[in-house]
Amino acid sequence: MNPREIHTLLKERFGEAVRDWTEPEVGDSSLDLDSGSLHDVCVLLRDDSALRFDFLRLVSAVDRTDRIECVYHLWSYELAHSAALRVELDRSDPRVASLSDVWPTAEWHEREAYDMMGVVFENHPHLHRILLPEDWEGYPLRKDYVAPREYNGLTNE
């Protein structure tokens, strides 16, 4: 099933939670969702017989200066088709439901998104920094991030 059919299937199932379809002229397309309904959509995507998305490929948080987006890439081994979900969160307090109970691999991806971009995933088993040390301030991949001049005694310039 190509992304367009998936979009129509989800549209009739969830109605306004799924934004309308925009065909990008270059690169991959994606389904825009609102953050509230993300968890239910994902459960459906995994369990529905026509979709069977059993593999969460990638969770990436993108900082578009006025908002933060979370993009989920999915793949199905049985039906060999892929899909990309996009969720927009506001920049001051990015909050979205965690998918670690739907796909266990999301656990580490979400911890990395929290570590790098500061996106908080609710009811995540243990959400804290995965790559940077525990006491590191700031989220490096935000556009307005300033690298610290010095960290526990070692200067950076």
């Binding site: 990436s60 993108v62 081994y77 266990p104 525990e134």
Partner: protein
């Protein structure tokens, strides 16, 4: 679990008999002979039995994604090589394919063939290191040295081709750096002959060795559902019985032209998806890669090697994700561009990052020696885990 709240759990009441036994927190710390680099594995053990383990990563976090955002595409390419330093041609290839797909840049057939040859030679070299370090983890030092002997031949070929011994910077946006000379072609054929001659010896020395089989069969079994749920990709996924290879299912760079088959784990020495299967899938993949290199070398057409790319490359607005088959699994760059010479965001999916996340799941109630065997069989590279 962060360092702070890893508390010492008191043993359950049932075991407070006279002989007070206590569980120990063991630090297979960032410097440990068998953690393949700087991975810290905090292990809660009860005697030799491991109850729980928390891998702690980030000791080699080199800010790749921040650098990739602040440099133009051509200058960010060498940093992609340094992510998985054992399969650096495949990293550069994935990065270039992403940029070329977004910028609709054409690549000549000869360049595509050269990319396939370099990528497969790099895969053989990486699998030889995986074979060597896995033997080293289980205590056999000699296969490690034999693996490096063949690897030196492959590396000297790639050095003639690209100029570097380990980080090749060979695929460029729009083609490859240098062209193939007949002398390098004959070296490649000689290497393929030697590799096929030595392969049965490796099996005699290690794969069929009863001690090795006893140490790896039925150890760290990952079922098919578990592998898919935890995001396993590459040889580890195929060892659990899922016949999925990106070079076959989502072909890129002319891979559909070459005939090769995808080995999967059948549980010959134990159950499907155990350490032995992960090791065996890698060994058979070495032979498959030899076949691919041979076919690519025979069918290489004439033509230019590097198409003209504007010095200041501006990609159109949009995003793309092109997954490639790295020796450790699916590696892809999710490139989001806003139309200016620097990317808005480049997110890299490291296969070892996902393969490593299953360690806590399967290292439960196993012996300490088995934790080492499981970690070695997953074959992680820390540059890719921490990026």
């Amino acid at each position: 679990m962060s360092e702070a709240n890893v508390t010492e759990t008191a043993p359950p009441a049932s075991r407070r008999d006279s002989l007070r036994t206590e569980e120990m927190l063991l630090n297979m710390g960032p410097q440990h002979p068998s953690t393949h680099g700087v991975l810290r594995l905090v292990v809660r053990t009860d005697g030799e039995m491991v109850r729980e383990s928390w891998p702690q990563i980030g000791f080699l976090h080199r800010c790749f994604e921040k650098i990739a955002e602040s440099l133009p595409y051509a200058q960010a390419l060498p940093y992609a090589d340094r992510m998985d330093y054992l399969g650096s041609v495949n990293n550069g290839l994935a990065f270039c394919l992403g940029v070329e797909k977004l910028g609709a840049i054409e690549v000549s057939e000869r360049a595509a063939h050269l990319r396939v040859i370099a990528a497969e030679l790099n895969r053989i070299a990486s699998h030889l290191i995986a074979f060597g370090t896995y033997a080293l983890d289980l205590g056999a030092f000699t296969p490690f040295i034999y693996g490096f002997r063949e690897r030196e031949m492959a590396v000297s070929i790639l050095e003639k081709l690209s100029g570097g011994r380990l980080l090749y910077h060979y695929p460029r946006i729009g083609g490859v750096a240098n062209d193939l000379t007949p002398e390098i072609a004959s070296d490649i054929r000689a290497f393929l002959v030697q590799m096929r001659k030595v392969w049965p010896e490796y099996n005699a020395l290690l794969s069929d060795n009863q001690i090795f089989v006893k140490r790896t069969a039925n150890v760290g079994v990952v079922t098919r559902e578990q592998a898919i749920a935890w995001g396993f990709t590459g040889p580890c996924l195929r060892a659990s019985g899922v016949r999925f290879d990106l070079r076959k299912d989502q072909p890129y760079s002319l891979y559909e032209r070459f005939a090769f088959d995808v080995p999967i784990g059948e549980g010959t020495k134990g159950t499907t998806g155990d350490c032995w299967d992960r090791y065996w899938v890698r060994m058979v993949e070495i032979l498959e890669s030899c076949r691919i290199v041979e076919q690519a070398l025979d069918g290489i057409p004439e033509g230019p090697v590097l198409t003209k790319v504007p010095r200041v490359l501006k990609l159109p607005k949009g995003e793309v994700y092109v997954p490639c088959e790295n020796p450790r699994g699916e590696l892809g760059f999710y490139i989001v561009s806003d139309g200016d010479p620097k990317a808005l965001r480049i997110k890299s999916r490291g296969p070892s990052f996902c393969n490593l996340s299953i360690v806590n799941e399967i290292c439960r109630d196993v012996l300490l020696a088995d934790v080492v065997a499981i970690l070695g069989s997953i074959d992680i590279v820390l540059g890719e885990v921490d990026r």
